[in-house]
Assembly symmetry: D2
Homo-oligomer: 463 residues x 4
């Protein structure tokens, strides 16, 4: 297609979009929004055919690369046999997928449990809330500042950002939000080396007296049923906690019969170099919520795993919940293929090696932009670049936005080719690039990424 045609088509599309599409989803963060027409591996293509190296991969939903052929085949196979089935009937892929996940958890944590599917991370979170509310008899939850669990009303109530609730009236089940061990910006101004997990101590102090508001010390009952955690914060800016924190948090919660719900929607399925990110933390959660990468983005399948005690049919009987597409055949078929892939190749090794290589590149980049790149860190292929003022700490949201937008112009050059760069902005101050590159990314692509980032930092700092 000649460029002029593409341009005409694009203009028409944007005009239609401006007229008929809600802006209420996230599209209009960039105005006009960027249009893409094809994808492959780590690359998106716009209407002019320019390649954009994608470092966010649909917020980690496409971990196995765009248009992964094996997963596409799995989808097509199911499409040719049983693409539709009401969820009150069984099909093999659902059962096998559930079994593999539950068996993995049993092997890894030594705990029996069951799996239930749904579509979209938020609905899986809602299912987890139902399980917690049913089992504990309590509506209220602890969750973390910086935490993100979705945008249904129930999920918004346990998601930290007030901006996500402000328009929607009163939230009677609003969580109580606890400071996350975000050591680069410690709320207490401490350093990890010497803090002795002061922040976790602060949480435990809530249980020292009934007047601290959450604990009846006579009845030994907490007002809160569960603590929702992300082992690495996603939207919060790929914040990597000190491991020891969660060991102590888990003990503190267990002592007060507060469940731990582990949200792995963004970090599960090896994003951090472990099947579940929570495995880095040395604890066993009571419930795990997963989604996104399970189907590599080919289907919104999500789900939960819960300890037998919470989800056993006596406690959570048939009809406790329902969703038309909950264990849809296409999604479970792709998910099953994903699980097979994860068992056949050593993704722990692969992801950690690539992650280490990329992190080294980013650290090198940091030395070229001292202060401006306040923090660089990574766990597996979940990586972060925190953009600051020259002082190395004050968040520079404007610069972050400029870099993000410039990357999408698709006008950089490297090795004689034109490139764009697809980034994602997160963080408490919207000054963090949260990188979740494809597991299929190559060393050359990682080198290219660092090169393009360097160009963007230079270009935008000069503005």
């Amino acid at each position: 297609m000649p460029i002029s045609d593409a341009a005409i088509k694009s203009a028409e599309l944007l005009a239609l979009e401006r007229k008929y599409c809600s802006f209420g989803d996230t599209v209009h963060y960039l105005d006009p929004p960027k249009v893409f027409v094809s994808c492959e591996g780590s690359t998106l293509h716009d209407e002019q055919g320019t390649p954009y190296l994608d470092l966010q991969m649909w917020y980690s939903a496409a971990s196995f690369g765009y248009r992964n052929p094996r997963l596409a085949d799995a989808l097509k196979r199911q499409l040719g046999r049983l693409p539709q089935l009401a969820c009150q009937y069984l099909h093999a892929e659902k059962v096998e997928l559930a079994a593999r996940i539950a068996q993995y958890c049993e092997k890894r944590f030594g705990v029996k449990g069951r799996v239930q599917f749904n579509v979209g991370g938020s609905q899986a979170i809602e299912d987890s809330l139902k399980i917690v509310r049913n089992y504990t008899g309590r509506n209220l939850m602890f969750a973390f500042m910086g935490g993100y669990h979705g945008r249904t009303l129930g999920a918004s109530a346990i998601t930290s950002s007030y901006r996500y609730r402000r328009r929607y009236g009163h939230f009677g089940d609003r969580a109580s939000f606890i400071f996350y061990p975000y050591c680069f910006r410690c709320m207490y101004g401490l350093k990890r080396e010497t803090c002795e997990l002061y922040c976790e101590d602060q949480f435990e102090k809530l249980f020292e007296s009934e007047y601290h508001s959450v604990w009846d010390s006579r009845a030994e009952v907490s007002e809160y049923g569960a603590f929702y955690i992300e082992p690495v914060q996603g939207t919060g800016g790929y914040v990597i906690p000190p491991k020891e924190y969660f060991v102590r948090l888990k003990q503190a919660c267990e002592k007060r019969k507060i469940l731990i719900v582990d949200d792995e929607v963004q970090m599960g399925f090896y994003r951090t170099g472990k099947f579940w990110a929570v495995e880095h933390l040395g604890i066993t959660p009571d419930i795990i919520v997963f989604g996104k990468a399970l189907t590599n983005g080919l289907n919104p399948l999500s789900g939960i795993w819960a300890r037998e005690e919470l989800i056993t049919p006596e406690i959570f009987p048939p009809g406790s919940t329902h969703s038309t597409f909950s264990s849809n055949t296409l999604g479970t078929a792709v998910g099953l293929e994903t699980l097979k892939m994860l068992e056949e190749e050593d993704y722990e090794k692969l992801v950690n090696e690539k992650g280490a290589y990329f992190l080294a590149g980013l650290r090198e980049l940091q030395t070229r932009h001292p202060g401006i790149i306040g923090d660089v860190n990574g766990l597996g292929l979940a990586l972060r670049i925190e953009v600051c003022k020259e002082d190395g700490i004050t968040p520079d949201r404007k610069l972050t936005d400029r870099i993000f937008s410039e990357g999408l112009k698709g006008d950089m050059e490297a090795g004689g080719c034109k490139y764009g760069l697809v980034l994602d902005v997160g963080g408490y101050h919207k000054n963090v690039f949260t990188l979740s590159p494809a597991f299929t990314i190559t060393r050359q692509e990682m080198d290219l990424a660092v090169e393009l980032l360097d160009q963007l930092f230079r270009r935008c700092r000069a503005q």
Copy 2:
């Protein structure tokens, strides 16, 4: 596959399922659950290869028939080009699909509006709740007894059945539920011919005095932001209301600035013989929620259309909500193909003709089981059979269950072949077969359906 192998595989599958799958979704209504392995057109096949004529088609999600080739091709095309894309970027199919739906509404209702996508009907309902809460400043909703809008916590609060809430603690946004014009079981014991819509009068009486609890007559403000309706009740038992009811209800609501949210998740896209079921009612809703049949079950894509005033970017700006898979490329591509199909063929004619034929068959069946089949009715291809005791009115839930279970045994014979029959049970008393056959169903298949139903009624009444 020889039967013995199938049996072994099935037994293994059921054992795995019993161990690793939650029973909390609906699977275990039948115990053991029924396993299916393939599908085509109006037919599901079990592991022995027995065909089951399916009269519920995944609760109307697969209206265009199982394995519809045109829609499968649309999915494969997108799979080959752009199967994944973060929803903060644009792709053509999303825009074109939104535009077609909004243009249809504009043409049909004379009202401008916008479309927003999500996955799963419940999440679309949650989006609609956000729009209502944002626009009206109110948390509380009216909804109908017998109404069903989903199972997230927010959707459960506006869904009538208390059983769906009981396990989950307090619902601070519980709707106020109003009697639906379910004339076969009129709550007031009246007959439609002479009632003069007494039930609608009763609703309006709530606004006669501030002491009737919902209306401040001085400030002229209602405590309720919107009224959630189903033009034909789905889970409630395919209840078809008298059309005039909603004309009056709409006027009553408009006068008190109460929005109408029209849930078309089950009835939209020609199930009732109109694009939107609400078109039968002669009213224009403020918000339409849709899902299921939009992709013929190939993707959980759902969405809402809202009047411009409610969803305009000034009122509902970027970032108001978000969902990773909200306008996923695979779903929007299939949805777009569905819309094209709907424009190319006269589905209004097709559905109404087939519906009339099937309804005639069911009415004939009713004459063979007087009393026992208390009511038969239909709108387009949404049909109902209400199973009663001999008195023609007392619900017979046990007989309904037996018929449902027997149908799934797959041991009936017709024309020398073995058949099963897939039904779905709904209704306030779980005594209604809610039929939503494929639009591709043939006259022969409808005849077969009536024949099999007759066999089942005879067999089960004799037990």
Copy 3:
């Protein structure tokens, strides 16, 4: 005091009031508010010394007449001995008062129970809500349209008028309001003679199907913990229900383990000719809430009686609630004297005789204003006059307001004296005079009341 001085003083007072007093209470319903300076028996006096015959007696708080000497003496005795004592210690009057009330209930209903005090009807209602929520584990209540239980946030949630909630955001515990058997304005347009308590049937229909929203028919559990009733509606307009209604309602509730909380704040202590108004209804409530007349208005003492099972120390242990003034010595001393009075004289006879005499006078008045006085009724000395248009049914709020205001002008003449008349307006449409004259009112005063009412009706109808 010469009139001019009084006028000056009054003007100063009104100026101060306009500047420093909240208008948020009900004083400014009349503008400027009416000032009174003394009282005695059934009469209030304004600054000019004009007597106003009072037919509302502080909404039934001063049933035993203004400045009742015996009760004043009881107050003074306690004032001279133990006017203050922290409620964590005991004093004799509290115990004796509680015992007399509990013994009365035991004798009358055959049910053991306990009493707990507080101040103000709303706080007693809040205590009853705590007992219901603790015992049933449920936050939600049924209550009646037209019902009034107070204005704290908790009491407002179960009080029908939305106007009382509108300004105060979301009420997550809002009751479900049921039509009260207000036969003069039957919501169903029926006549008591032939209705067969259709309205009660309608309530029971809510339990016929889980889809009717309040009942899980599998678990046999209701979403609602208690039904709050007034045996005669107070603020709702002294609506007197058909007795049989509550016998059936009680059975319906008992069957579903829904408690009955009987609000006697306005009608208790013989206002209706029985100790508790509920005694007219032939049912035993689970909780009784009382206040107002207990101290004849000399102290805000209120309280609850609850069945032993609900309030026994194991279930409702020390510290379950608290209020500094809950069982204050002055209030309990006066309350105890009230109870002694009630035991010493036959108030059932006295109140019913006076009530019958007054009602006869009002019925005669009705014949003089046919249509305009749409309804007249009474139970004991709780009487109502419903003001309508000439058609005898359309509420005439304006005329009601005029009569109310004219009465407060204090410019009527009767028997050569100048008089005012103090009335109170209630009812769903603010068109009902709710009369609660002092038990000490004389026949002459009742004759005078009818005469003054007649003057007011004539004067205001002519305007």
Copy 4:
């Protein structure tokens, strides 16, 4: 009365109480409860005539001494003239009392405002919640750990102790509780001399990012409408904050349009040596809530003062709230007399001098029980003794309870007379004696108090 008769009477009383009284109020903290029969000045008398020096004076409700003759006369005067009047009419004392309070606030804070009355501190708190919810449009409040604002459902939601909520289901308006500057038990383990109000910094950090959960930084709107404070914590253990804290807190709140509601129910009317305790803090609150000492315990009158902007009739119009006894004539008459007393004598000087003398005695006592008396402090006549283990910091609840119980035995001797001592226990760990002696207490009585306390500490430590 001979002792044996008293004993019989007492036994009968306790038997009646055990049978007919709820234990749900606080009486049964001591078992059997203590009975008192008369009072005067600083002394309560039991049935044997033994005097008990009272250091808590009904939680500060009887600040002006038991049976204060001037206030008793004011009550009797009103009793003889206008002891009853419906609150929709005006009487002079209400207006004059409101005016004096509002005028005081205007003079002291330079801010115009209005007063509204009610009965009981909790109901005044409920009124303040209504004003905040109406003005800010928000349901949620900040409040302090250790804070106490009452026991209605609304007040319990903003009162820190979870024990007060646990039995009563879900609280959809639960406050967010912030650490109070309780320096003796600093949650952060800091010392006031060097902390630089670290705790206030922690509060402000909540507004640094929308992800800290309470603040939308784009819209500049907080999720919380007001911050409820006690200038000195009451039930929390008479905790005296560093003054500078509140200056900064006020600025922080003002900046985010969060109102300050000052609960003076226990500390108002000179308990701390200032008319309002908040005057110590150098800030102007938006709303003041008061009660208790206003009538010296002779009537439950309470009330609020609010800034004109919040309570002006346009914003908070007639009928916004209501309570039968809200501005009852007896209560307002006594309150008016209290205000006159406060204007006629220099209570600031009197209370501070007596407070200093008593505090010196307590400090001396502390030297006799080092460690065991971990902290002694006071502001005016609000004084605290914190009972610890020998380490001077670990709370010793058991010793506190023993001392409290022993004091009530009435078997101590001093100066040849038998005495009891009435104490009150508060604090986050129930190990604090909160002393609020009468303003009429003499130096001899204070000396006696220290002597009796010393006896109790010695006796109980020896056990």
